[in-house]
């Protein structure tokens, strides 16, 4: 799935190049969010059985 997402990001970048390059803020935000998304994906691929946030909260709150 990560490859599909990476390709979609590339496609969006090419398709919306003018919109993204017209403002530095747009480009930075797009790249920042894309990197976060891809990092989350890579972590998931490396270890798909990572305990969820709720599990941590459950341990902490009980």
């Amino acid at each position: 799935m990560i490859y599909v997402f990476a390709l979609t990001i590339g496609y969006t970048f090419i398709k919306r190049k003018e919109q993204l390059l017209s403002s530095k803020r747009n480009l930075v935000l797009f790249l920042f969010l894309s990197i976060i998304g891809l990092v989350l994906g890579i972590i998931y691929i490396i270890n798909p059985y990572l305990p969820s946030l709720t599990l941590y909260l459950e341990k902490y709150m009980k």
Binding site: T8, S34, G37
Partner: protein
């Protein structure tokens, strides 16, 4: 891509509000009320009506005081740009968490009811594609869909209720003990946290235009009333057939309740329709929340266009769904202890604080508008 320059009406918002409330009404509320208030739990929707009408009145006051302004613009007027951005940032996080939880429960519902062998990834990918396609058609399409579909759904629920009347067991509902009344009042927070979705109106407030007729306002009040009646009916229905003890221990008690209903012994298996209603309601909720998420980004970063954010946000939401919660038990904990309380903060406390500031600065505001 995502069209935002079309107007919506309060009537459409009221329909959408009822539509997105359907899945929590059918899925979470009966279980929560049975667990917290026992057999008397079906009284909680009555107490919650007060809070829901109160928040509707607050929404009305804000719309009336700031005609044509959305929640962010109202916040800017009341607390300044810096604080408004901080609050919007927290709204953004809340919406992000709500979307991931919705996607999770949508996949779990389908696995629990119709397709237990299918992986949740499949449901999530299909949902994401559908949401993308729906947003591509514009937010108006989503409102229209809610408008057309809600009528048949309410009709179906009425038919189910009529069919179930003979199966209702009064010993499951009566007698109501006065000792349990305080717990029914406390348990009503489960209903209040869903009914508070009405504040979504404020996010769309810039789409209504400056003038809102009395008839339009009445539609929103009717929406709040129908929500309360529907919650009450569904809870009675579930408690009366399944019993509060069993309801408290089931993930989707209404589904089990409907399994025992038949239409004059001719038609049965209505539970499939209940699953479809929940799935449709979740789909609309995710569409609306996705649109709100994009709008929060727009307000937070002063973006003129925000369509390019759709793809990176989709990726984040997709993977975040695994990291937030992945099983039914985890979702139950997340909903009961985190989402419920966050809903109360973002749907009630913040709008109430804004209204207090609005009332304190009434004279200054009246000069501007």
């Amino acid at each position: 891509m995502i069209q935002t320059n079309r107007e919506v009406t309060l009537r459409q918002i009221a329909f959408m509000y009822l539509f997105i409330s359907l899945s929590p009404i059918l899925r979470q509320i009966p279980t929560a009320l049975a667990a917290e208030a026992g057999r008397s739990g079906y009284l909680s929707p009555i107490w919650s009506t007060i809070a829901i009408f109160f928040i509707t009145a607050i929404v009305m006051v804000l719309i009336k005081t700031f005609p044509g302004l959305n929640i962010y613009e109202i916040m800017v007027q009341l607390v300044g740009k810096f604080l408004a951005k901080i609050i919007i940032f927290f709204y953004l996080l809340w919406i992000l968490l709500s979307i991931t939880a919705k996607i999770n429960i949508y996949a779990l519902t389908l696995q629990f009811t119709l397709m237990p062998q299918t992986r949740s990834d499949f449901f999530m990918i299909i949902l994401i594609l559908l949401v993308y396609y729906a947003l591509l058609r514009g937010i108006k399409t989503i409102f229209r869909f809610s408008e057309f579909t809600l009528g048949p759904i309410l009709f179906l629920i009425t038919v189910l209720f009529i069919c179930a009347l003979t199966r209702l067991r009064t010993d499951y509902l009566l007698p109501v003990s006065t000792i349990k009344l305080p717990s029914t009042i406390l348990a009503s927070k489960n209903v209040i946290a869903v009914g508070g979705n009405i504040i979504i109106v404020l996010f769309f407030a810039d789409k209504f235009g400056i003038t809102i007729t009395k008839n339009q306002r009445n539609k929103l009040w009717s929406g709040a009333l129908v929500f309360s009646v529907l919650t009450f009916v569904i809870t009675i229905f579930t408690f009366g057939i399944t019993g509060a003890d069993l309801t408290a221990n089931l993930a989707f008690p209404f589904y089990i309740t409907v399994k025992s209903i038949s239409f004059f012994n001719i038609f049965e298996r209505f539970e499939v329709l209940v699953t479809i209603i929940c799935v449709l309601s979740d789909f609309i909720s995710i569409c609306i929340l996705s649109w709100l998420l994009l709008r929060c980004f727009q307000w937070l970063f002063n973006l003129k266009q925000y369509q390019f954010l759709a793809v990176p946000l989709t990726i984040i939401i997709f993977y975040l769904t695994y990291y937030v919660s992945s099983t039914q038990f985890e979702f139950n904990f997340l909903y009961r202890y985190i989402i419920l309380n966050l809903n109360l903060i973002f749907q009630y406390i913040i709008p109430i604080l804004l209204t207090i500031v609005c009332l304190l600065r009434r004279k200054k505001i009246q000069k501007q508008f």
